[in-house]
Symmetry: none
Subunit: 258 residues, 2 copies
Amino acid sequence: MDHVNAPSLPRRRSRSLAQEVMNDLSEKIRSGVYRPGDKLPTEPEVMAEQGVSRTVVREAMSRLQAAGLVETRHGIGTFVLPPKPAGLDLMTVVTIRDILAMLELRISIETEAAGLAALRRTPEQLARMHRAIETINENISKGERSVDADFQFHLQIAQATGNKYFEDFYRHLGTATIPRDRLDTPQLSAEPAPNYMFRANREHEYILSAIERKDPEMARASMRMHLSNSSERLKRASEQAEEKSQEGTKGKDPTAES
Amino acid sequence: MDHVNAPSLPRRRSRSLAQEVMNDLSEKIRSGVYRPGDKLPTEPEVMAEQGVSRTVVREAMSRLQAAGLVETRHGIGTFVLPPKPAGLDLMTVVTIRDILAMLELRISIETEAAGLAALRRTPEQLARMHRAIETINENISKGERSVDADFQFHLQIAQATGNKYFEDFYRHLGTATIPRDRLDTPQLSAEPAPNYMFRANREHEYILSAIERKDPEMARASMRMHLSNSSERLKRASEQAEEKSQEGTKGKDPTAES
DNA sequence: ACAAGCCAGTCGTACGACGACTGATTTTAA
DNA sequence: TTAAAATCAGTCGTCGTACGACTGGCTTGT
């Protein structure tokens, strides 16, 4: 060992190589280089890029998985997951019953959000809610999906509370439960009939009207009614789907509506 | 969120061996077989116990580390870490204003929880609520902190909803507003006067009475009143503390109550 | 008694090998 | 010609071997 009087360096590596590769990749995820749904570089690619062995790459990937940042598919690759909502583990949402339970929590939060929005909304936020409702109507008339505009409407309400925690919570639930194709579900197929969706959007209008009038009680009641209706529709469709799957027929899918 | 995905059975294969070893070890940590500070079995021991290769063991350990459950010391072994206040991003809760915003979210959830608890509580849960209230009174009389019993009372209500998401959320929200020593705030020092705390516990009794009577409306109204009062007390104490810190005096700290 | 060296145990990294999985492409059969 | 089956290349999962780095305890020498 050629010891020269080098300046005293740390005696041990502050982190392992695996941790450093994880840090590098998770920083790239955090900063948007890799977005939810994107495929990370393959193991051989990371090995080459980072100049480490496959062992280190695999351990780094294991860490990313355990941290919930990615999921790995055998033979395919590793994909970035959407951010987890704070305090809630959406991986537990696997049955209709779980969804209904989550909806129940959501009712409590969004009902309150509607009341606060009625007190605190700005004209700009109000205009954005109006636009979202118009967009939903247009999309329904064209036979297109109204999911994005639906999400926007609810997000605007969360923002109008002026409380970042309501907005954060809504953002996380939004990204986690909208992308239906993530869930390995027995598809409750087909979009609901347009009249159902127009009706649900009618309920949006009642909510908006109360918010516009700065009437928190009515806003709360309207939102509660709206989400309770959705919950009921889901419950009924689920029961029908269960009966019909026994008969080999498909039920309705109300999940595309608010 | 009006758009809900209907889930189904997982289509994917079973988990990897590394994930299964992690599950086994994390279950042992969760259940108390290994406690914070304990040393986990060495890699060779786990290899023998689980009948897997060292690669699998190391990947499982990597996962446990990334999940924050353990830390590994090179040449020594792997040790169980104390539980972190996980989930909700508590790092954002740094000012009184953040606490108040978080309380606002909490009001929405716990108000709804009280209503659901009135509908779904069991006699055992009711008894536990009673006990928590008694404990709070005893602690107040002895001049001791009633924070734990206070948390218990609210947690019982969340459990009585029969919806795991309410309970999960409360576990996280509860820690956000109680552990005062986490906050870099102008210290609102000293326990509030006992009469304030008796009064707050009186409010607990109104909530419990409504739950006992299976009256969801009254349960909701009582909980909202109780938490709004806490919010107001915190706000006022904060303002007084601000004035008094300009005068070099300390104000009251009501955050130890619900 | 204290310091230095040694040793066994443990973790970190690297490599080679083979099987399992996946989707795309090619070959075969109808 | 088209559809089904087989093949292939790429990717991930597991196993085993090997060596270096680190740590604490024990033994030996001063």
